[in-house]
Amino acid sequence: MKTNVRDSGGVQVVELKGKITIGSGDVQLRETINKLVDSGKKNILVDMKDVTTIDSSGIGELVGCYTSVTNKGGKLKLLHLPPKINDVLTVTQLITVFDVYESESEALASFRG
């Protein structure tokens, strides 16, 4: 998996590309988010547009990141969920846990609200 982090008005937009699966991308996701949290970044928007595959391990890491950011008083939200990842989050009722956006501008505005 490839990651790219950019700042957009104080929100860290984390763009993920590729697979978030066991042994490939799952730990990398955790390390990327932890690094941001450790450096005091509290508003994180994870762009999933180019994520091709996710498994239960990747979902677990996503949940762990959400908890980690929330426990530090921050917010982690999701952007551009591919349909099949939306399905995977829906069947485990996690879709109700995350704030999910289709538009980056709306997602960024939600951090200010």
């Binding site: 066991i22 239960s56 979902i59 677990g60 949940v63 099949k84 399905d87 995977v88 069947v91 009722q93």
Partner: protein, 141 residues
């Protein structure tokens, strides 16, 4: 077929399963969920069953009989009681970082059975009807 306990082997097996499904009129959506269930079964065997011990193997059989795809995945671990696996939908478990693999297998396949194999290890048998596509297959959510 026997595989070493490496996560890298998961993709190879998914590729083999995909080839097995070729020639059948399996919708892309259905194929995707079968491959995800297969991935979860293999990951479970490698991580929880064999504890990533590369001296241990994962034993695999895949076959299509009639309209039914059957996948058997056996590890060389101590086994577990599937009844004791926590429900990932329970509110107290929803934010746990693990424990969803078996749930996904059960969601995406028609039949999932667990048994302690006579020659040791835990065996998971996954079955999916490849015939008429029903609502569950077309829309797992």
């Amino acid at each position: 077929m026997s595989l070493s306990s490496r996560f890298e082997n998961i993709e190879m097996v998914q590729h083999l399963c995909s080839k097995l499904l070729e020639g059948r009129d399996v919708p892309e959506e259905l194929r995707h969920w079968i491959l995800m269930a297969l991935r979860e079964g293999l990951a479970n065997a490698i991580k929880h069953g064999n504890q990533q011990d590369q001296s241990k193997h994962v034993h695999l059989e895949m076959d299509i009989v009639g309209d039914t795809l059957a996948i058997s995945i056996r590890d060389e671990g101590p086994g577990f009681d599937p009844e004791e696996v926590a429900d990932p939908l329970a509110p107290e478990n929803r934010l746990k970082t693990s424990g969803r693999g078996i749930f996904y297998m059960r969601t995406f396949m028609d039949d999932v059975r667990f048994r302690r194999h006579a020659s040791g290890g835990m065996e998971i048998v996954l079955k999916k009807n490849l015939g008429a596509v029903n609502e569950k297959e077309g829309n797992p959510a």
